[in-house]
């Protein structure tokens, strides 16, 4: 990386930054979808940011004994105790590495899904997302999105909560809430 290249990049950044103030305010509506590109269990996925209520990193997780291998434990968020489940384990390909990222699913009851790597925050047009109807019970993937580096399946956080509830025996209540 030559100094000239860096200087050019610096100039481009500065221009882009200045231009961002000159552009009209973007609309944050249905035309666009905010996505988080993540890796769970070594596989790429995408999450809808609209289905999340927060993103955290390196939160301490207190393990809980139980029959669910996907349950990593509980963690405190804003004064509430939230169970933390391994996204990779829910998707059926658990890996021994302990995930360090947590995403809080919107809605209640509160649920945190842990994944291994945050690839970035992307904003894509809604038209680019290939929608998919709800599949079988236990399938938490809804649609796909083409991103740089390949097409990623989209993890549906409510479906994940439903799966957790079903695993823990709270299917009806969950259905009622939905």
């Amino acid at each position: 990386m030559s100094p000239n290249e860096v200087a050019e990049r610096l100039v481009g950044l500065r221009e882009e930054f200045d231009r961002s103030f000159a552009e009209p305010a973007r609309r944050h509506d249905e035309e666009y979808a905010e996505l988080l590109a993540v890796h769970a269990g070594g596989r790429p996925y995408a999450l809808r940011l609209s289905q999340a209520s927060g993103l955290h990193q390196n939160r301490p997780v207190t393990p809980l004994p139980g029959p669910q291998p996907a349950l990593l434990g509980v963690a405190g968020f804003g004064g509430a105790i939230v169970p933390v489940y391994d996204l990779a384990a829910l998707l059926g390909h658990a890996v021994p590495d302990r995930p360090r990222w947590l995403v809080l699913a919107a809605g209640s009851p509160a649920l945190a899904l842990a994944f291994h790597q945050l690839d970035g925050h992307v904003r894509v047009a809604a038209a680019e997302i290939v929608e998919e109807a709800a599949g079988d019970v236990g399938d938490i993937l809804r649609g796909m999105v083409p991103l740089a580096g390949g097409t990623r399946p989209i993890v549906d956080l409510p479906a994940a909560r439903a799966l957790v509830h079903r695993l823990t025996g709270h299917t009806e209540r969950t259905e009622q809430e939905r």
């Binding site: 990386m1 950044l13 930054f17 961002s20 305010a25 973007r26 609309r27 944050h28 905010e34 988080l36 940011l49 609209s50 999340a52 209520s53 927060g54 993103l55 955290h56 990193q57 945050l118 970035g120 925050h121 904003r123």
Partner: protein, 488 residues
Amino acid sequence: MARRTFGTKLAGGVGITLFLTLIMGAAAVAALSVVVDAKDDAIRVAAEDLVNAERLTTKSESRISNYRAFLLSASQTSLDATNADREEFLGLMTKLRGTLTDTTARNLLDAVSAAEVTYAAVLQPVIERRKTMDDLREISQLNVSATGPARDSLRKSIADLTTRVRAEVEVSRKEASNAATRSIVVIVVLGVLAMAFGSLVAAKLSRDLRREVGAAVGHIQSSSAQLEAAAAQQASGGQHQASAMNEITTTISELLITSRQIADSAQRVSTIAEETAEAARNGDATIDQTRASISAIRTQVDQIVQHMLALGEKSQQIGGVVELVSELAEQTNILAINATIEASGAGEWGRRFAVVAEEIRKLADRTAGSAKEIRALIEDVRGAVNTTVMATEIGAKSVDAGARQFDDATHSFRRIAQLVATTNDATREIELSTKQQSTAVEQVNVAASDTARVTRESESSAVQTRQTAAHLSNLSGDLLNLVGTGRR
């Protein structure tokens, strides 16, 4: 005798013969002196004693005559003559008494003396009476009858003495003749002995001469024959030797040329060795400079390593700062994402806030990307630093190894320089030795030439020796004939 030389034998034989001759001469001289003494004794007895005895008779007769003349004339003269005769008679008696040795003759002389005393006693009264007488007619009164017997007695005693002395003379003559005869016999015996011994020596010498000289001459003949053969062989050998010496001389000349070439080559080698030693000395200075350069390189390499380690440490610190920046960017990103999440449910203001959050997130992304690039760059730098440090340490080790090898090379070089010096000395010695060798070879060449000449002379001498040996063989044959004996 066999051990003695012939000259010794000859001298011995001649010496013994000469000794016998000397003994014979001495015996002859002794015999002659004995004979002369005997004859002198006989002559003395004959000449003195017999003459004196005869003169006693004469004086007695003269005294008697003068006495008778006195009786006739009564002259004093006659009486004095008578007395003088008696004195002479007594003197002769005294002389005879001193010379006579024979006892019988001495007794006879005493008898003569006694008779003369008696006769004088008889005469004295007669003489006194005649002095008183004047008339011759009274002569008968003289009473001379007593004088006759006394006179006869005296005459008889004198005659007896004379006869005895005469007999002594005869005895002395006979003794002298006997001594002479004995001397003749001794001389003749000695002469016969000398002749016999001379003949013996001559015979033995002749026999030895025939035997030993003949044997020696025979040996000389055979030896001269062998000498002739040897001389012939020596002559032929001398020819071979002369040709060999010519070849040797030629070879030595070639050797001399080669030796001079070697000397020239040794001189060139010495010059080259001198130049090499000079180059080695220059190389020694270069080695010292190189050693100093190597030490400087080693120091600079150490400094490079230190600087590189410092650089790695700094880059590690930069990495830490970049980690911090990256962490900040990540946290900013998280905050931006959460702000976006929060803004999505906040209506229109929330949307504006979401835009700002979007921008913040972009900046955080870019910051994270830049931090990532910086981290990669730092990793590259650290890798490069590590590589450089390793390479530098390898270089330092190489420099150390090179220094050691250079020390070895220096040691070898100095060893080479010493060897070159030694070689130089050795080359000088070789040069000197080769020059001496050249001189020696020249001397050998001269000596070989002399030897060749001597060989030719020796060859001619051998020919002469062969001729001389042949001549000697003939001469020995002649000598054998001359000695008169055949070969034994």
